[in-house]
């Protein structure tokens, strides 16, 4: 069965610092992988997705993610965070028209 694990419930970084959010997945074949962001009181917005090809994926808002098959990971990165990046981030895996979401990582930004 497919599953997604986000090991960190909360992450705090200083504004301007780099960010890496961890995601591990369980899936038998090459999965479809996603990162979504949810700002307070809002729905989810797709940041980026990976289906195949180049394992480094660029997304919106300056985010990128790297697919590592050997580690079953799809970590999200940003070189320099802004206060507006404070939100909840969800990693997800999908196939056969279903998307399964992780429990999320809440990102806090220190001024």
């Amino acid at each position: 069965a497919q599953s997604v694990t986000q090991p960190d419930i909360h992450i705090t970084v200083s504004e301007g610092a780099s960010l890496e959010l961890r995601c591990n997945y369980s899936y038998g074949a090459t999965p479809y992988l996603f990162w979504y962001v949810q700002s307070p009181g809002q729905g989810l917005q797709l940041l980026l997705k990976y289906f195949s090809g180049d394992t480094l994926v660029q997304g919106i808002k300056g985010f990128e993610a790297e697919f590592k098959r050997s580690q079953s990971s799809f970590n999200l990165r940003k070189p320099s965070v802004h206060w507006s990046d404070a939100a909840e981030y969800f990693c997800a895996v999908g196939s056969y028209d279903k998307i399964i979401f992780g429990k999320g990582t809440r990102l806090h930004i220190l001024p």
Partner: protein, 114 residues
């Protein structure tokens, strides 16, 4: 830019009362999803529609929850009677010609059951 609309944004109800949520997907999107998001949890798919047909409601608590999409456009999710454990964010999403993996989410309805 087209958006998924949901109403109400917030709802407070007493347990044992009935409550309903409405979702209007992006025009032309044939697939509509209702998710439940409990604080600290991921999103749980409650029901998936393809046009007016239910294609997956395996996680929908059918003794108290119902969902419909009569004309294959907008959709209503109902809870009757509401229980304390139903307090959550209810999110609607839709996908269309871009593929199932391009899900667009509405702002959600925050339900509090007292």
């Amino acid at each position: 830019e087209a958006e998924v609309a949901q109403s109400p944004r917030y709802k407070i109800t007493e347990k044992s009362q009935a409550v309903a949520f409405w979702c209007d997907p992006i025009s032309g999107h044939a697939t509509l999803y209702w998710y439940r998001q409990i604080l600290g949890q991921g999103l749980e798919l409650l029901v998936q529609f393809q046009d007016e047909s239910v294609v997956d409601d395996s996680q929908l608590p059918k003794d108290r929850f119902s969902a419909e999409r009569l004309k294959g456009v907008d959709s209503t999710l109902k809870i009757q009677p509401a229980e304390l454990g139903d307090s959550a964010m209810y999110l609607c999403a839709s996908s269309g010609p871009g593929g199932w993996y391009e899900q667009y989410f509405g702002p959600g309805t925050r339900l509090t059951v007292t």
